[in-house]
């Protein structure tokens, strides 16, 4: 067994997913203890261009028409041969709709240990975050087996896994027999109203937004951060936003990575729907507003003063 660390790249319809970079950053940390290379594994068809920015020492590229789109079975079969042949010290998968479909299959098929929900590599150990973030667990690599790891975002920034110099890509042989799973078609998300419960970023507005016209400001922020606008009850009551945007007891429960609450007091009926957000930033002029009790960051400031400079600085950062 080598000290090399594999990272199985994730991509969807020609776009590499950020989790790939995050895994590379983690793999780099891990390689410091194992002393091997960080090797990207790309499965696809005519896909070599998408790995031009990965910070890997080299890339193994398996090209096959049956791998043009993600197919759990095609991926698992291809990777199981590769892992057996190469014997890496560890393999990273995303804990995602792609990686999580195959890591377990490979663990069972090859009899390899699997560590899930890894958020960071510590000093020689793997740190996982489970139970909705309430519990952290430390594990170590198996001594004499390849350890499979699924990765969740949060511990690394994608930029840490990026590089300006494209790595060399070495093709490897792929043979795929008939598969029991096949992709029929992609269905685009319905245009029209967004499902706030699956958004990563939510700009939440409350009574403090004052008028319907001001919602545009929140909308602008949402677009810059790649999210959607949601609201507390008074905003929905006024008919300024549809009921599908209501967060709370009578509306939806949301778990975004960022919940930016503008002019929301934090009534218990509202908090019930957003307390599980990963990060809550609250902007409120009232220092005693209960929203600050559930927020990660807060600022006691007029939201209308803040929005313009914030939009400016976000535009500059983009």
């Amino acid at each position: 067994m080598s000290g090399d660390i594999f990272v199985v790249f994730e991509h969807l319809r020609g776009q590499i997913a950020d989790i790939s970079y995050i895994m590379l950053a983690a793999a780099r940390d891990l390689a410091q203890t194992t002393g091997g290379e960080v090797i990207g594994v790309l499965l696809g068809h005519n896909a070599q261009d998408i790995v031009s920015h990965v910070a890997a020492d080299r890339v193994l590229y398996g090209d096959h028409p049956a791998l043009a789109d993600f197919n759990p079975e095609g991926y698992a079969n291809t990777l199981s041969g590769l892992i057996q042949a190469e014997g890496p010290r560890a393999v990273f998968f995303g804990s995602t709709s792609i990686g999580a479909d195959i890591a377990g299959v490979l663990s069972a098929r090859l009899g390899l240990p699997l560590v899930g929900s890894c958020i960071q590599i510590g000093e020689g150990n793997i740190i996982s975050k489970i139970c909705g973030g309430k519990i952290m667990v430390e594990t170590v690599l198996a001594d004499d087996d390849t350890t499979l790891i699924t990765m969740i975002p949060g511990g690394y920034k994608p930029a840490q896994g990026q590089s300006e110099t494209p790595p060399t890509a070495t093709p490897f042989e792929v043979s795929i027999d008939s598969l029991r799973i096949s992709l029929k078609q992609y269905i685009e998300p319905e245009a029209g109203d967004v499902d706030i419960s699956s958004e990563k970023v939510l700009i939440a507005i409350g009574r403090g937004i004052q008028t319907a016209d001001n919602i545009e400001l929140a909308q602008e922020l949402a677009e810059l951060l790649g999210g959607a606008v949601c609201a507390s009850r008074p905003v929905v009551d006024q008919g300024w936003l549809p009921a599908t945007r209501l967060v709370g007891k009578s509306g939806k429960s949301v778990k975004p990575k960022l919940y930016l609450a503008l002019g929301i007091s934090g009534a218990p009926e509202h908090v019930e729907g957003m307390a599980d957000a990963e990060m809550v930033v609250a902007i409120n002029m009232d220092p005693n507003a209960p929203i600050f009790n559930v927020a990660t960051y807060g600022a006691e400031i007029d939201l209308f003063d803040l929005i313009d400079p914030l939009i400016e600085k976000l535009e500059a950062a983009a």
Partner: protein
Amino acid sequence: MTNIVVFAKLVPDLVEELEIADNGIALDMEWLRLIINEFDNHAVEQALILKERTGGEVTVIAPQAEGVDEMLYTIAAKGADRVMMLKGDFEAGVNNHALARAFATTVQTYQPDLILTGVQANDDLDGAVGPLIAEYLGMPYIGYISGVSMAGDKLSAQKEYPGGLIAEMEVALPAVLGIQAGEEPPRYVAISKVRQMMKTATIDEYDVAELNTSGGVTANRMYAPEVSERAEMLAGDEDEVATRLVEIFKEAGLV
């Protein structure tokens, strides 16, 4: 007739504070309240919807744990045809690899056409249970499913990708699916019906003699991350706050 089997398990209820056991590598069971894994609850709902739509029989199998009877009676009251408990010592150090092996052995007698389970659970430390079950049974697996339709020995499933994109995938039966969301939210069942079930239904039992946990991992250490009671307040005028926020968003990989 389609034979649908659902694997469901109880997981820590996050409404309660979780505490670490004295050995430092497990959750303190004494303080633990258990609740059905929400994704498994969706898997049960999806199974019942399929049964209502295309006929068939629904069997739900769950590992023994405090409160599993109540969970299974509730599922029976919702319309499952058969409920069953895997009996064994699932408390200490059990992992999804062991559960998947135990379930795979048991389920073979039912000759399932379709196995559904939740796509993940909050206490998964060694990956989700679905792909493990599939591989131990030699069946194909697709996860992150939010809709299923069946025609003959083929099944079409809607797989969710980030951003709401859906891939419609076809899979030959028998197969295992990891359910992210049922087509409808889990239904409500009146307590009177559950209580009725407690009197009339039986929970089948299957003894799991030996647990094979290999492939799972053992924790070296478990701890609760520090959480602050109140927001970290950002000082300064709007310009300074805006600058700080952009930094924070960047650190979180949002910009």
